[in-house]
Assembly symmetry: C2
Homo-oligomer: 385 residues x 2
């Protein structure tokens, strides 16, 4: 027996360029609409350029080197990564400017960090704990070149970061004084405010973060440690951060795809989102036991469910809604039987939360209209380590 | 620049056999305790052998050919797969007896099904819809050998399956009459009752399913279509199904790992579970901003969250509990500050729901005590298509 399973990345290769190939994808498939994606990339690049700040999009959203290169070609100064393993995968695929936005602490990770810093000149890390400075310094020494370091400032989320204040300034001074480290500035990411539906409340909280970070910046400058980089901000606070006068770099990620959750942030505020939904999961109806119920091939293994169910975008009537029908299947419940799709029908769903959903797939299927135009590997999929 | 990222599967290779290597794994890491795993495999094999029925464990739980081979070596007749792509990956790794437990309907999938049936003699599929018989027949004809088919009976979940009754018997007759298909029997999986905490209620509902399926079996037999195979059952109904007198094969899966959710099924009933927790996610503390709070490197990308948060098993004091702190991180909140782990500490977590959590990882790290003894690839990870 010598059966060879077609790799996920090659499964739909023969459909590239075929008219109507999108409808024939092996499902569940992660699909990105190229025109909307490009408009999102351009819109954010313009927004940052007009504000006079840099854009370093967060690659934890897409984990895809091809997409990162499109962002860089449109003006981004590099990317952010959430994890070292993600940075390694994107560096292998040719991305040379990477900020890792969470502390790297474990001995095996610091050894890998040294190897990565030796390989790419544009690596930057964060630190929030004075006990880690010596370890980063040793990794930098081993790598043979200085390691760029930002001090991670906690904006009140208490996830990572050190509170602005004496301890934080002392940490910055310690980094700056280290012979193997280069103090580049500060990071502050306020994840807790990104999804606040009330636009005024979201703006007020983002402005409070801005003031906090500006205070730290001013104090560091007074102490002769002026931050060259002040990085933070996300898709949810894009109306505030670029023009807020403190961030020199924006690290938004989700704007490229716009999931259901981020669409709802603007919908709740009664506003039009500045970005478009470009990401979908395509799924096939495999059974339809009852007049108002259909079962699809995409369940909890095909969508992250922390933000609830996906939203049906194409393939079912207006009274249809999606629910998780276990690990392997989705359910489509229709108030009106005539809205129920048939066995074999193909549906498109807006994903509830893009980042952890993308992390389930090996490939992005890139479409223009109904044509599959490319398949991009998601190189950093699963690289949370 | 020629940086090469270490593949996930090779990342911890150098730790195999080293004393204490478990504590040095790159994290987040999926860890399986081999002794407990082997006891679970043996316990279920014995349980089925004593009941005189076959065991065909569901591989959707582990997606791992090495683990499937251990189950088969212990007496299992083969495995179940939830999806064609999963079956392809396990067939490539040498598993020759596979039942795909959900309908295969799309044209591209039927072509792949034909190739798989040509390659392995032990393939079996389900059908719940007369419109699909001709498509399966064509795939079987193209494959050059008969395709084994079970009629999927809906036990009231309405996810897949046809209700027992005239339509179901006609479907069986149609399969049996087809020159390219072999009617092998019936499947009925009652996913809706697996996690009922009240043992008496769970037993009563499982017995109702047993009666329903037994009625269909008897009617098919009366019509000269005796089912050679009656497959179904899960970990939650293991006290009822093997001795219920209707199933000839058990398709339980989660018993190999025993996640938090299945442990709670027995805990709620005040009973001791017949299987042990063998699966853990190992994670490292990367930050600790407050006296009662620590942040780990495992968040929503490292655990499926449909069944709530993981349970801390090792590495933190008794007042500590885990919460999801976003996509990339976990939070450990401690009522008592002395229970809080320190930056760099390694924690072990019982996963909330094993199947979709395993699907996030490329490798199972197999440990005996504190020694890493093997790294098993999860060949069918991500193969939901």
């Amino acid at each position: 027996m010598s059966f060879r399973a077609t790799p996920a990345l090659a499964l739909n290769q023969r459909l590239i360029g075929l008219p109507g190939g999108r409808a024939s994808l092996a499902t569940p498939a992660l699909v990105v609409e190229l025109d909307a994606l490009k408009r999102n990339i351009a819109a954010m690049a313009l927004l940052c350029a007009e504000a006079g700040i840099a854009l370093r999009p967060h690659a934890k959203t897409h984990k895809c080197a091809t997409l990162a290169k499109l962002q860089i070609a449109a003006g981004a100064v590099g990317v952010c990564c959430a994890k070292l393993g993600e940075a390694e995968a994107l560096a292998e695929a040719g991305i040379g400017e990477i900020l890792i936005t969470a502390p790297v602490v474990a001995p095996q990770a610091l050894a890998r960090l040294a190897a990565l810093n030796a390989a790419i000149g544009g690596l930057m890390v964060v630190v929030d704990n004075p006990a880690l400075v010596a370890r980063l310094s040793e990794a930098a020494r081993a790598s043979g070149r200085p390691l760029k370091v930002l001090v991670d400032l906690d904006p009140g989320l208490h996830r990572t970061g050190i509170r602005p204040g004496e301890d934080a300034y002392a940490l910055a001074a310690r980094v700056a004084a280290d012979p193997h480290l280069a103090f580049e500035g500060v990071q502050s990411y306020a994840g807790q405010i990104m999804h606040i539906g009330d636009a005024a409340e979201r703006a007020a909280k983002a402005e409070a973060v801005t003031r906090l970070v500006a205070g730290a910046r001013d104090e560091l400058t007074r102490r002769n440690l002026p931050p060259r980089i002040v990085t933070g901000g996300g898709t949810g606070t894009v109306a505030i951060d670029p023009g807020g006068g403190v961030f020199t770099e924006l690290q938004a990620g989700s704007y490229v795809f716009m999931d259901r959750e981020y669409n709802e942030v603007w919908e709740k505020g009664g506003e039009r989102a500045p970005f478009e939904t470009s990401l979908f999961v395509q799924t096939t109806v495999i059974s339809a036991a009852l007049p108002q119920l259909a079962t699809t091939d995409a369940g909890l293994k095909s969508f992250a469910c922390d933000a609830g169910p996906p939203r049906l975008a194409r393939g079912a009537g207006p009274s249809a809604s999606y629910f998780f029908f276990g690990d392997e299947q989705g359910g489509v419940l229709c108030e009106k039987p005539e809205d129920r799709p048939q066995v074999g029908d193909v549906l498109s769903c807006v994903v509830p939360h893009c980042d952890p959903t993308v992390n389930l797939y090996d490939a992005l299927h890139v479409v223009e209209g109904d044509t599959l135009v490319a398949i991009w590997p998601i190189e950093a999929r699963g690289r949370g380590f």
